[in-house]
């Protein structure tokens, strides 16, 4: 394919000098609005731009279809997940994904995370961070272009625009049209749909934090917690405003992500780029027909600008406004096909590949850019952490014991010379059923006994059995007594569940003695 191109047309470098910016500016400057020319005062209007609405044109193509798929998948996950039921028995909620803040539990299908296991969440966050490195170094701002909620909801709202007001030109016309009854009605209908989507979005959010059917009933009967209404109101407002009106302004002016991602890109990352050595000098088909040697492949049809959801011109090169959604690739490929020129004038490519192609190298499949040490190392670290988390998840027990010895006083000398230490024990029963658990002293001399406030000194013994309710932590204040004359320093409590699995956990601690500090 590349060879055929080169036969037809002269080598890119020789015949197409870089764009003559001065000349270009002269011609472009003539068409610029008068506002810039008046901006002579410091506080003059030129320091601030009036808002402009991006009316992006509908386009079809592989990237558009990919965006459709992502939108359907992500929105379905977001709206439907809280409604999935998951049977966990009588002692735990039956919602598959639930962030139970009040009881400090996080349920995700078969996984239940307790607060002391927050390292799983920390691990997921680290994976998300490294995943960002990985994705950005490999495929640039793919997050921005496809998966970011701002992008997905903006895309959704732009489709609503298209449904009510028509495509690009019709929308632009309607924007400028006077406020007739018809326009007002259309606007109100459109905003009502915005509001409905926004409300649904805010409403779905709170379902992750409580039993969805119950909360829905409470919400509509006016008995839900005020926080639920406030959260829905805030999220409805922000979705309506950010998705319906701010749109690309969020990406360009508010979001730190584009800045961070730009810093993580390198010359080997895939970005959406316009191959100017192939496209310049731009000229219409008519002009190119008359003077084939002077003009490049770009016919300056502006379709790439028209379809852009952030309203930029990709032909100006890399810029913060480019979320790399690929719609301009769809647009340009279509035009290239219609004009009988090879596709990929605008395409995913690395900067290195651009330089190589400019120097005459053939095009290279984009996926080859993915395999390089940087992405492989990121992937290795990311996968390693993931494997570690999975291993930890698979081997964790549902029985846990932590011990905190009293520090003030560290020990207590009793009348008969025996020494008592006090400990706060936390017995965690992470099973959805009540269990009897045995607490035993390990490594203390004979005669050492323990008891708790409820068991009482008269029942003191080297082991005690207590019941811990389902899915709960039982806090015990335990006393350990060492008879007069015996000495000890380090020892351990061992917790053993009294069921068939006999899961156990050991917590090491110290025994303080008079004069031993």
């Amino acid at each position: 394919m590349a060879d055929a191109d080169e036969l037809e047309r002269p080598a890119p470098q020789a015949q197409r000098p870089p764009r003559d910016w001065a000349a270009a500016l002269e011609t472009e400057g003539a068409g610029k609005p008068a506002a810039t020319a008046q901006g002579d005062g410091f506080m003059g209007s030129a320091l601030y731009e009036a808002g402009r609405t991006v009316h992006n044109k509908r386009i079809d193509g592989p990237f558009r279809r990919f965006k459709w798929a992502i939108m359907v998948i992500t929105l379905t996950i977001y709206y439907a997940t809280p409604w999935i039921r998951w049977d966990r028995g009588p002692y735990a909620p039956d919602q598959a994904v639930l962030v139970d803040l009040a009881n400090r539990r996080f349920y995700m299908f078969d996984i239940e995370i307790w607060p002391h296991e927050f390292y799983f969440v920390a691990g997921l966050l680290i994976m998300a961070g490294i995943g960002l490195f990985l994705v950005t170094s490999a495929v640039g701002r793919a997050w921005c272009g496809y998966a970011c909620p701002q992008t997905v909801w903006t895309d959704l709202f732009q489709h609503v625009d298209r449904f009510f007001d028509g495509d690009r030109n019709a929308r632009a016309r309607l924007d400028k049209a006077p406020w007739t009854a018809g326009k007002t009605a259309r606007r109100l209908a459109k905003w009502a749909v915005y509001l409905a989507i926004a409300f649904w979005t805010g409403g779905a959010w709170i379902m992750y934090f409580a039993d969805a059917p119950t909360l829905t009933r409470e919400f509509w009967s006016g008995t839900a917690d005020p926080i639920a209404y406030a959260t829905v109101a805030v999220l409805t407002g922000t979705t309506f405003w950010l998705g319906g009106f701010m749109r690309e302004q969020v990406c360009i002016y508010m979001c730190p992500w584009p800045r961070i991602q730009t810093a993580m890109l390198d010359e080997k990352s895939l970005i959406v780029t316009y191959k100017d050595w192939r496209g310049e000098q731009r000229g219409s088909l008519k002009k190119a027909a008359k003077n084939p040697d002077k003009y490049g492949d770009c016919i300056d049809c502006q379709l790439c600008v028209a379809v852009c959801p952030t309203g930029i011109d990709i032909r100006e090169g890399q810029q913060i406004g480019c979320i790399t959604c690929g719609l301009c690739i769809d647009a340009c490929d279509r035009v290239m096909k219609e004009t009988g020129r090879p596709r990929g004038l605008i395409d995913y490519a690395t900067l290195d590949q651009c330089d190589a192609e400019r120097a005459g190298a053939p095009a290279r499949p984009a996926w080859k850019a993915l395999l390089r040490p940087r992405t492989l190392i990121y992937f290795g670290v990311w996968a390693g952490i993931g494997a570690g988390l999975l291993f930890a998840l698979g081997t964790r027990t549902h029985t846990d014991l932590t011990v905190a010895p009293d520090r003030n006083p560290p020990f207590m000398l009793l009348k008969d010379g025996s020494v008592r230490n006090a400990y706060t024990l936390r017995l965690r029963n992470m099973e959805a059923r009540p269990r009897a658990m045995e607490v035993a002293l390990q490594g203390l001399p004979a005669g050492a006994v323990m008891w708790t406030d409820s068991i009482g000194l008269e029942n003191a013994a080297p082991t005690q059995t207590v019941t811990v309710r389902a899915n709960e932590t039982r806090v015990l204040r335990a006393y350990v007594l060492l008879p007069s004359g015996a000495t000890a320093s380090a020892f351990a409590f061992r917790l053993t569940a009294q069921d068939e699995q006999r899961e156990s956990d050991t917590a090491e601690t110290t025994f303080a003695m008079p004069g031993a500090e």
Binding site: L25, E49, P409, D453
Partner: protein
């Protein structure tokens, strides 16, 4: 001023120049400016509604009358109201009946722990472990008795507290001048022998029987009814060396504890007693109800 354009970027110059470096005009969106104005408007409204400008000794009050102290007072009232029924229940329950209601006992212990931090830690220490001269409340050694009722009585009336008629009180005579050095050593040796820390000696034993057994018991087992400390155990309020014991025989020290009746409300005192009792050394009530009495032991 004529408009000039920076050629590489196509951006207009603002017209500012410093040493040849010029500023380009990259316009902000206008909504950004309006947001800025909105924040100024917000600030003005805030200054009118809420405390804002610092004056010499206070701040401007704001028309809403809001204050963080007011918030605190409201939260405290709400907390008091939420606790009211538990407090009423504790008030209505005799202290010896508290342990039979574990939940109520737990609430009382928690309330007592809070009151302890405010009123008691100054002498008894944050962990209630005391220090020489200030009794440890965690152990099983009770000078005046360690049942809930006895602890509550001590809290109410104090120890050797001048203002309280029913205060617990006793005085150990000073034997300065009565015993010579050898006698003091012999007596201290006998006291130590009661807990097996010294060899018994006949002189000391005889002196103990004559002078000490009335309050401390024949075997040094103590007499909580009159506040005679046990001398046959491992716990020493003023130190357990022969020298420290001798010093206490010659010139005894007498600790004082304030009477809390009237300073703290009865429920707080009840909760404090429950907390002290729960520290690990609390005693179950004796079969016969104890009769705490103020006992004064006259000097010989």
């Amino acid at each position: 001023m004529t408009k000039r354009i920076d050629e590489p970027t196509g951006t207009e110059f603002v017209g500012h120049e410093w040493d040849g470096i010029e500023e380009l005009n990259t316009p902000l969106p206008r909504w950004w400016l309006y947001t800025f104005y909105a924040t100024i408007l917000f600030a003005i409204v805030y200054v009118v509604l809420y405390p804002a400008w610092p004056l010499i000794d206070r701040a401007t009050a704001g028309t809403l009358g809001w204050s963080s102290r007011g918030d605190l007072a409201a939260e405290m009232r709400a907390a008091d109201a939420a606790r009211a029924d538990v407090v009423a229940k504790i008030a209505a329950t005799p202290i010896e009946a508290l342990p039979s209601d574990p939940q109520l006992m737990q609430a009382a212990v928690a309330g007592g722990a809070a009151a302890f931090k405010v009123n008691c830690v100054q002498c008894h220490g944050a962990g209630a472990a005391g220090s020489p001269g200030y009794p440890n409340l965690n152990d099983d050694d009770w000078i005046w008795g360690g049942t809930l009722t006895e602890i509550e009585y001590t809290l109410n009336h104090g120890i050797r507290w001048d203002g309280a008629a029913e205060t617990r009180s006793n005085f150990m005579p000073a034997f300065e001048g009565s015993f010579d050095r050898a006698q003091v050593n012999a007596l201290a040796g006998h006291v130590l022998s009661l807990s097996g820390k010294a060899k018994p000696n006949a002189t000391g034993a005889q002196m103990f029987a004559d002078n000490c057994a009335a309050c401390h018991g024949a075997g040094g087992e103590g007499l909580p009814a009159v506040g005679g400390p046990a001398l046959n155990d491992a716990i020493w309020l003023y130190g357990g060396s022969a020298a420290e014991i001798g010093k206490q025989i010659l010139a005894p020290r007498h600790g004082v504890m304030p009477a809390w009746q009237g300073r703290l409300d009865p429920v707080t005192i009840k909760m404090l007693a429950a907390y002290v009792h729960s520290r690990g050394g609390g005693q179950a009530p004796a079969p016969a109800a104890p009769q705490p009495e103020a006992a004064k032991v006259a000097a010989k």
